[in-house]
Symmetry: C2
Subunit: 305 residues, 2 copies
């Protein structure tokens, strides 16, 4: 099965450190590459971790706080200088087009490739992009400015034919696609071979949800129920719960609660505040609620399975 | 003598690499700290090289190509989050205020400190800032959009009194400041002790010029004549001289010519194109014209002397 992976490029909250960069990650699903948030320095992280920049055709920006998008103008400029001609699609809340246009105006930058900026709005789940194998949705989070999470999921796989059975019943090739889609086979004598005798069930479609930044917001579970992997911000430790509320951020424990309510398979924590020397406490607090949990490391790949 | 130093934070041209960052440097003169250009990732470089961010009160942006200013909004935001209350002065060609304002509008950022943006314009040398010890000037360069270089120089030092002579002639303390300024001393009997007998000459004022980005532009020498240290962009090798002209950049040899024409003490090369694996050729080509020359290394301090 082609991999479905998340590579973390940045995991700090607003202020980067010498070892943690602002938010950015690459989601790769069956050889489609998506950039999710693009904090300052993302293009350098992409180079450092040897990600193929030109394979990315879609960028999703959760919100317009600088630590989630300030690397975008530089990255778009580098793609231009590197000779890109293929369209780039960027999805973000209202304002990003204006922010990019004014900078391109003063720098007299005229990109060689089409830049399509799609505005995310509304209070419900919405499909942003799909092809025959993958779909990407946005759903609202609750932060200080309009902010969206993203759900990446595979479309259901086709059933897998049992080759010996196809031969045994002499099923002609033109019928195979229907059988892969779940149809029974009707023989010339009118008798029926049920699909279950001809195929194996497909693997369940895999899914990944990205939730950053947000206050504790259990309503989000309606959109991310059952995800295999959940990335959730965990800016604060419980000792700073009040500060988390004031700034519309989550604690590690909040993230654990969301993973539990959403019946996620696994939880990744990120967006760590600079005030803590390590992620030990925030991770321990999340694990009290939801055991299968990790604090992300930059450069590391996490498999969605 | 208090140091006058340049710390290189970024030395790549438009596209950063895993080892070279976009343009940024800190000039420190007798405990005043100036940031010159602020490419993407500058705040991370400042942390990495342990520069005291809050000591910087003046930022000079040469022009509005992204590799010279894209780190600014993030840096200003971090200063705010770190509790700054002191004013920050930013000097840049027209457009920067608009670029910052639109981003602060969408991120709903209200800085806790005054941000004063000063627009650089015109076709001649101009004083941007001074105090009793130091002055900073801008002068035009020749690039694709309005671009300025910066000249940092000490004001002339006072003469240094010869303590034994002051005692020998019983010169009262209130006269000392005048003597340091070069006055002779008139004794009560009307006779004159010439200043040269009472003081040592001061050290010559030190100066540093920053020239990035520009095509070969010998007219610049009128403003930077005799600088102790000159930083000059050297984007290209001679083999790409045509490309240098097309893009209004310089070669290493061009930089050497400017250093020679300006009678600079020493030349630093920077703003290297990503197309070369090393700075060996560009440095060799500059040295053919001007021997006392280095290709900058990031994190390294260069003394102005």
């Amino acid at each position: 099965m082609l991999p479905f992976e998340v590579t973390i490029l940045g995991s700090s909250s607003a202020i980067p450190t010498a070892t943690r960069n602002p938010s950015a990650q690459v989601v790769s699903i069956r050889e489609r590459f998506f950039l999710v948030d693009c904090g300052e320095g993302t293009q350098i992280q992409i180079r450092r971790h040897r990600i193929k920049l030109q394979k990315i055709n879609h960028i999703f920006i959760s919100h317009l706080h600088g630590d989630h998008y300030l690397g975008l103008v530089g990255l778009l400029g580098s793609l231009h200088l590197l000779g890109r001609t293929k369209a780039m699609h960027v999805y973000a809340p209202e304002g990003l087009k204006e922010i990019i246009d004014i900078q391109h105006h003063y720098s007299q930058t005229f990109l060689r490739y089409p830049l399509e900026i799609h505005t995310i709005a509304g209070n419900n789940m919405q499909l942003l992009w799909e092809d025959d194998k993958v779909e990407v949705h946005a759903f609202p989070l609750q932060h200080r400015i309009p902010t969206y999470g993203f759900l990446f999921k595979e479309k259901p796989w086709q059933r897998k034919v049992i080759v010996e059975k196809i031969q045994e019943y002499n099923i002609p090739t033109p019928y195979i696609p229907q059988i892969k889609n779940g149809s029974d086979f009707v023989k010339t004598d009118g008798s029926i071979i049920p699909n279950e005798m001809l195929t194996y069930p497909p693997p369940p479609p895999r899914s990944y949800a990205y939730c950053s930044d947000t206050r504790f917001y259990p309503e989000v579970c309606q959109w991310i129920k059952g995800v295999n992997l959940l990335y959730h911000e965990a800016t604060f430790e419980e000792q700073h719960k009040v500060r988390a509320k004031e700034t519309s951020h989550s604690t590690g424990r909040d993230a654990g609660e969301i993973a539990k309510l959403a019946s996620a398979g696994k939880l990744l924590l990120g967006h760590f505040s600079i005030r803590y020397d390590s992620t030990k406490n925030v991770l321990a607090e999340a694990r009290e609620v939801f055991e299968n949990c990790e604090a992300v490391e930059e450069g590391k790949k996490y498999e969605v399975c």
